[in-house]
């Protein structure tokens, strides 16, 4: 196409820069970046729902946490679990949870949808906190990181090594980005964006919108599970807080702060939120207050999120003939005009 697409250029630059990370950064920052890249996977999985399908879920930590618990449950006490078995299993558990919960919550919409997703996530939180299975409210340790052992004794990487884990997280992030972009431009993705913009019209055209929303919910849950699994592996510890509502709120904040519907916006949001938290946390113990001010300022000054900065900068130089409906997700003016039409 030759067009300088932020959806292509930005992630390529970012991956190239991140690939060089371990060569220049110390262990602390390599681990911090690993954590952030895992959160990027989490945030992008939520963006598929919030930004692309218009489904604002406030219970996304449930699928993240369920996969983390799946790894804890599947790990032998003093040995490493096999990554190639436990990762798909953990993602399948998350997908199943998303299928069941999605089947129920997708019958609601708007504020009720937000409340229903929150309620189900809190039920799972309460289950892990109070039932006493898998460690109860104290949580449980995972002593060995999962082993990437292939048949024949081959081990392509070792998660116990910080740099290896870093590159696995980088590959997961890049892979999920490519996967979600592919999905967005498929027939399925078009239907999702149509549902976000006007679900009633999609139904009157003949689309069974519930099925498409449920499929998106399951894909999103499975990918959140990937993030949860990697996170549990990185920190070697799971507790019910992983599923708590402020985790759901935090990842939603990343998506909104970064800019909804573009995927790279969600990624930017995750980076900025964690890094600002890190910087402020180093300056003062009362970092939550400036953090709040930062978020309020960002929401007021950047209604399209951080990704919107890039888009408007690009728009000033060259105006594409027709916006890509998938990329121009939160065009405030367009939304207003649509509202005026209605």
């Amino acid at each position: 196409m030759g067009r300088l697409s932020p959806a292509l250029l930005l992630p390529l630059l970012a991956v190239a820069a991140l690939a060089a990370g371990p060569l220049v950064a110390g262990t602390f920052y390599v681990q911090l970046l690993t954590k952030i890249m895992i959160l990027v996977v989490f945030a992008m999985s939520l963006d598929l729902l919030v930004g692309c399908a218009g489904l604002v879920s406030l219970g996304h930590a449930a699928y993240f946490g369920v996969a983390a618990y799946a790894l804890a449950a599947l790990s032998p006490q003093y040995e490493a679990a096999n990554l190639w078995l436990t990762l798909p299993a953990a993602m399948a558990v998350s997908a199943l949870a998303a299928l069941v919960i999605g089947f129920l919550v997708l019958r609601t919409s708007g504020v009720y949808f937000i409340m229903a997703t929150l309620a189900f996530a809190q039920m799972l939180y309460a289950f892990f906190a109070e039932s006493g299975v898998i460690g109860g409210s104290d949580g449980v340790y995972i002593y060995s990181k999962p082993e990437a052992l292939l048949p024949g004794g081959l081990k392509p990487f070792d998660l116990e090594r910080t740099t290896d884990f870093y590159y696995v997280a980088l590959a997961a992030m890049a892979g999920v980005y490519v996967l979600l972009r592919t999905i967005l431009h498929s027939l399925f993705g078009r239907v999702l964006v149509g549902i976000r913009d006007n679900e009633q019209r999609m139904r009157s055209l003949g689309f069974q919108t519930f099925r498409y929303k449920l499929a998106a919910f399951v894909i999103s849950g499975a990918l959140a599970g990937l993030a949860g699994y990697l996170s549990a592996a990185q920190f070697g510890f799971v507790n019910p807080e992983l599923l708590n509502w402020h985790r759901s709120g935090e990842v939603l904040m990343m998506v909104i702060l970064g800019g909804m519907g573009s995927l790279y916006g969600a990624a930017l949001g995750a980076f900025v939120l964690v890094l600002v938290e890190d910087v402020l946390g180093g300056l003062t113990t009362h970092w939550l207050l400036p953090m709040g001010i930062f978020i309020i300022a960002a929401v007021f000054l950047l209604p399209e999120g951080i990704a919107g900065l890039w888009r408007s900068g690009l728009g000033r130089r060259r105006r594409p003939a027709a916006p890509d409906p998938v990329e121009v997700a939160t065009d405030a003016a367009a939304v207003e005009e649509a509202a005026a039409d209605a």
Partner: protein, 266 residues
Amino acid sequence: MRDMSPGIPALSVRGLTKRFGGLLAVADVCLDVAPGEIHAVIGPNGAGKSTLINLLSGDLRPTAGSIRINGTEVSGWSADRVARLGVGRSYQRNNIFPRFTAFENCRLAAQARLPSSMRFFRPAVSIRGPQEQAEHALQLAGLDRRADLPAQALSHGEKRLLEIAMTLATSPTLLLLDEPLAGTGAEEAAGIVALLKRLAAEHAIVLVEHDMDAVFSLADRITVMVDGIVVESGDPETVRNSAAVQEAYLGTGEADHEMGAFADAR
């Protein structure tokens, strides 16, 4: 069974009733539309015309009555199921995807006729069927030169045409058009009337419309509704001369200007 054999009406409605609490919005309506026929539904505001369309399209569930489309009983079906049977509806207020291009709007509509859109990997732009149907629909509506403009950049009249083009892209046999001329100027209206005339050859059309000139120039049959009840149904000549219609329209007062148009159309 969806062929347009002469025996089976495209649409056959019997005893259709919709009650909202104490309000009887549509009462015992009967209606037949043959293939290739334009059947206009007119009446003052609040007569139940839009409710009728919503019942036919499956957006509302009838309280009682039967709706047969090409011989299939569809009352109680969901809107998407009715649509897949070959029913295209357009809306009184623009109900398009403003950020999609005109072409994208139609392609998405055409996609609704694929067996499934649960296809996650192949780019949508590489799938030919919907592309061709979208091009065809835009051409029919005379929008082919505006295909690559975002829908929100179109003029009001063009948006009304796009609204119809989207329903055409789904290859319907029965069209339910809710005030396609709403808010258009004389020139735009003429363009839409011309389009509807062309469409009548291959579609059965239910047309709800306030513009009496358009109604009397297009309709093969006209049904007049007042307060949810059919007061007259027949060919334009019969309706024009009906005492019941005159009384009903004069009785509502608010429809004075329509009555004027009525007289002009005589």
